[in-house]
């Protein structure tokens, strides 16, 4: 009996000394939170030492323009993952938009702004169909969008008759969003990206409606019990994805001036990696907008840097895959169950 009393006294003493308090490992948290940003800066420095062209104005311009398109797509994808779903058809969606828009302008003589409008509406319709299948028919989002991406790929090829089309004589105004410069320096694409980012941050991170996305994604049951309209939120995420897919597709079409269904494959991985890598940043495993932004710049720098340093295609492919594995591993460790899984 005496022994037990002594033990209890000992433990009580330790508790009051604070031995059992949860002490955050400050260093680890710092590393995870800001590690990505530091890594980006370091990498850029390394690249510019290895090849000074990296920092040339033209190169930075290209980097930022393409990165903007990928970043916009990544923002949409981030929103979808935040709300607890997946969408791998956005790339094919953007590709379809990049194909339809120049055809509307050149072959059908549609005025520029109307063509933009039609293309955006198309992207949104595709995303809404995804949303209906996934949210209202309860189909797992990965498989549904997997099928949809294949379907869209087929449609894109049907429009271009299996080839890719070039538009060397297209309306100069078409090239503005991809290649235009403001004040001769800042890419238009970057500006669009920053504007969209601003809106997404205000919506997702600050506004009340936006925070609901996070709740829905992390704890569905709790969200429903608190009274959030889960279906509406998830559906809205797809709507946002549609808008970003449309914008991204228009910018890509403007940069490359071709209508190429293969763009769909190339546009898939980078935004996914950007969104998931960004989840490692700032919010420890939850996809978020600022993280996506930093990751977009990082990935853009990496692919640009690899090209400049003369690495061949497969190095980039393997690196992207490894980065993706790294990101999802960290996410799974930091936040188990943070990634939506497929149940059939």
């Amino acid at each position: 009996m005496d022994d037990e009393n002594d033990q209890v006294k000992e433990v009580t003493q330790e508790i009051s000394e604070g031995k059992y308090l949860y002490k955050e490992n400050k260093l680890k948290k710092l590393f995870i939170t800001y590690g990505l940003l530091i890594f980006t800066i370091v990498l850029f420095i390394i690249f510019s030492i290895l090849n000074p062209v990296f920092l040339s104005q033209r190169n930075i311009f290209n980097l930022l323009s393409q990165g903007s398109a990928i970043g916009i797509l990544a923002l949409g994808f981030t929103t979808i993952v935040i709300s607890g779903n997946f969408d791998i058809s956005f790339a094919a969606n953007a590709a379809l938009v990049s194909i339809i828009c120049p055809i509307l302008i050149e072959d059908l003589g549609v005025p520029l702004l109307i063509a933009y409008l039609i293309s955006m509406v198309l992207a949104i319709i595709v995303s809404i169909i995804n949303g209906i299948i996934i949210v209202f028919l309860n189909v797992p989002s990965l498989i549904a969008t997997f099928g949809m991406s294949n379907f869209l790929f087929g449609i894109s090829n049907w429009i271009t008759k299996g080839n890719y089309l070039c538009f060397p004589y297209i309306l100069p105004a078409y090239k503005i969003i991809g290649k235009g410069k403001i004040g001769g320096v800042v890419p238009v694409a970057l500006l669009i990206f920053l504007i969209i980012t601003f809106f997404v941050i205000v919506f997702l991170e600050i506004s009340y409606k936006g925070r609901q996305f996070y709740v829905v994604g992390s704890n569905l049951q709790a969200a429903a019990r608190v009274g959030i309209n889960v279906k509406k939120i998830k559906f809205q995420a797809f709507f946002i994805m549609g808008i970003t897919a449309g914008m991204g597709g228009l910018i890509i079409g403007s940069i490359f001036e071709t209508a190429d269904p293969a763009v769909g494959t190339a546009l898939l991985f980078p935004p996914v990696i950007v969104a998931l890598l960004g989840a490692v940043f700032l919010k420890e495993g939850i996809p978020n907008v600022l993280g996506t932004m930093v990751a977009a710049i990082l990935m853009s720098g990496i692919s640009n840097g690899f090209v400049l340093l003369g690495y061949t295609l497969w190095v980039k492919e393997i690196t992207e895959g490894v980065i993706l594995i790294f990101s999802v591993s960290v996410i799974s460790i930091l936040k188990p169950g943070g990634l939506p899984s497929v149940e059939m």
């Binding site: 449609i155 429903a224 992207e320 993706l324 460790i333 990634l339 497929v342 059939m344």
Partner: protein
């Protein structure tokens, strides 16, 4: 007393014992196959020509073997999208070894299959120990493995085409047993039988189903969840390796992307098999019959001269429809 009928996954009771009313589902796929055969033959009489039948059977065998591997992984955890790429890697390694002067067929086959098993092992570590959902893992690893394929085949711009082959290299891919049945088909059928024994009948298979449907309960019941899952991945890797060496044997060469055409049909096969041959869980028989159906469909499209992109359109729509059907009757998530 009336026995209450469980209407969801109860893996310890055979499916068709419960399915009294839905016998037709078992045969629906076979009926569809018959219908497709008739339709395509009418549209192009060469469809049932001996050459085309072999073509269909070859495609079905490769799709089927890859799909079987993916079915196992589907049973124990989720979707494996890297199956086709792992098979591709196997094929490329086998041909690469030939170009490096290795002449012993047995060594080549062993190493190629081992590579596939190791690749699947990598997947399994990420899924089982780091607990990443299998579809994300396999999307990422498929990119990495494809990068490996490209790096190995880099010198020949993505194709390895050896000038001299070891004796017997093309046997598995092109030999006709008894001058009639192609070897790939034999391998496929034998594999299906073995898989049915392992997965549907043996205790290991029962454990795999248990682990797949409810890992927590399985752990409590005493099943070593991690071990079972890893066995599943290893088995799938073996199958991918076999598919890979059949592919390289058929072409006597290997190419990056040669297996891409098998991925989508394989995924659809698994899902289609889930609807029609069981209570909506992945199973070997369903995959087997669906693989044949998909091959007939794909081949038929080519025979009636539809441009290649129609395949994608129809496959995409088919996949979406199949998944919608699979998801009806599921409890709503909210």
């Amino acid at each position: 007393m009336e026995l209450s009928k469980t209407n969801n996954k109860d893996h310890y009771i055979k499916a068709h014992v419960l399915e009294g009313k839905t016998w037709y589902k078992d045969y629906l796929l076979v009926i569809v196959i018959a219908v497709l055969l008739i339709v395509f033959t009418v549209l192009n009489p060469q469809f049932v020509g001996i050459d085309n039948i072999f073509s269909i059977l070859n495609f079905a065998s490769l799709t089927g073997i890859i799909a079987l591997g993916m079915t196992i992984i589907m049973i124990i955890s989720g979707i494996d999208l890297s199956g086709a790429v792992i098979a591709n890697l196997s094929a490329i390694i086998s041909v690469y070894l030939v170009t490096k002067g290795i002449n012993n067929l047995l060594i080549i086959l062993t190493i190629s299959i081992l590579v596939a098993i190791v690749a699947s092992l990598i997947n399994s570590i990420l899924v089982v120990y780091i607990k990443i959902p299998s579809f994300i893992v396999t999307i990422a690893t498929s990119a990495v493995f494809q990068g490996f394929c490209r790096s190995i085949a880099f010198g020949g711009a993505g194709v390895i085409y050896p000038k001299k082959l070891p004796h017997g290299f093309v046997f598995l891919g092109t030999h006709y047993l008894g001058k009639l049945i192609p070897m790939p088909v034999i391998i496929f059928i034998v594999t299906v039988f073995i898989m049915i024994i392992i997965i549907e009948l043996s205790p290991l298979g029962r454990k795999m189903y248990a682990v797949g449907s409810n890992p927590e309960v399985s752990r409590h019941v005493g099943i070593e969840v991690n071990k079972v899952q890893i066995y599943g991945f290893l088995l799938a890797g073996l199958l991918y390796g076999i598919a890979g060496i059949i592919m390289s044997s058929q072409y006597a060469a290997a190419m990056v992307g040669m297996s891409d055409g098998y991925l989508f049909p394989a995924v659809i096969s698994i899902l289609l098999g889930m609807i029609f041959l069981s209570l909506k869980f992945a199973n070997i028989k369903g995959t087997f019959i669906s693989a044949i159906l998909l091959s007939i469909l794909v081949n038929g499209f080519t025979m009636i001269n539809l441009p290649f992109y129609w395949k994608n359109v129809v496959q995409g729509l088919l996949l979406i429809s199949v998944v919608i059907v699979l998801s009806t009757g599921k409890r709503e998530s909210v």
